[in-house]
Amino acid sequence: MGWIALAYGIVLITLTTYVLVLRRRLRDATRARGTPTQHSSVR
Amino acid sequence: MKRARLVLAAVLVVGALLYLIIGGIRGAIVYYTTPSELLAQGASAVGRSMRLGGQVAPGSKKWNAQTLDLRFVLTDGTASIPVVHHGAPPDLFTEGQGAVVEGTYGSDGMFTAHAIIVKHSEQYAPPASP
């Protein structure tokens, strides 16, 4: 049943990572907008 | 507005191209040849690398554990072609199911396969309870 675990695992890991990356970028972008002098070059 | 017309033109051109390509190669994009088509090609098919697809004829599968030779017959209901393959088939390879083999057709009427791919249908159902 390794193939099933591999397929579900890759979908789970990819989408979780994508959500986390989006949320972090969103946090950085809103923070950069709020205080342009500080964390504006986070990315 | 000029740009919008330009985009529309690009879409139409690419659409027409795709239509022509698909129409033109529709006959050429076949993943596999059927046993009937192969026999119809006659001698010109001999020695050419190709894919042959059909149903594994029930009762035709013979596995020799000593020599690791697998023999079976692929059929499309009309024509049948004997196939020989060296090595074990995929797990789901069974008689009565679809299969596609890659290899060459010999002058002796035997298809020598170097790869076997199992083809399944779009029907899904739980196993019949005993």
Binding site: V11, L26 | A4, H120, S121, Y124, P126
Partner: protein
Amino acid sequence: MRGQTFLGAIALGLLAAGAYVGLVASPPDAFQGEYVRIMYAHVPNAWVAYVAFAITCVASALYLAKRTPVYDYIAHSATELGVVFTGLALVTGSIWGRPVWGTWWTWDARLVTTAVLFFIYLGALLVRGLADDPRRGARLAAVVSIVGFLDVPVIHYSVVWFRTLHQPASLTRGDIKIAPPMLAALLLGLLAFTVLFAYLLTLRIRLARAEDAGEAA
């Protein structure tokens, strides 16, 4: 904002339910046994990718017509999501094919046209970087996205037009070729991924807007 979190929570719940039904509650298949469960992870990815590129196509056309940034935010976001989900559809299809067909990849019309779709929209993302002016990049991406969408019907009908290894659609109008408990697992997967997609799209559009505002500041 709160609505978005709510949407994410619903997506999470549906995904958990879908995984349970797909992995545990649904029966194995008569022919492929347990491997049929990979279908519940494969088909929803492909479906959501189609939805994403349909949105990309419409938003791109609106952007070219009206030049309002919001349409580009939508197009850009949907393109990125579509590339992610097409990639997942290709990978899960490959993993499904390995035990069932006996091969990871083969030059089948359905497989090739799907891989072409992946690269068309990857190209649409990359072409933005080629232009010095971001608005010019957005216009280029819009053109690629609209023209590239022509591949979607080709993929969908590839299993009908061409003789392929890939099986034809199991869900067509008036003809369902899946037993009810397996159909339930598939439909739940499709629903869960559609809600997840809606959540991700709203999140990604907010990000596009925020980053654009950040650069302008």
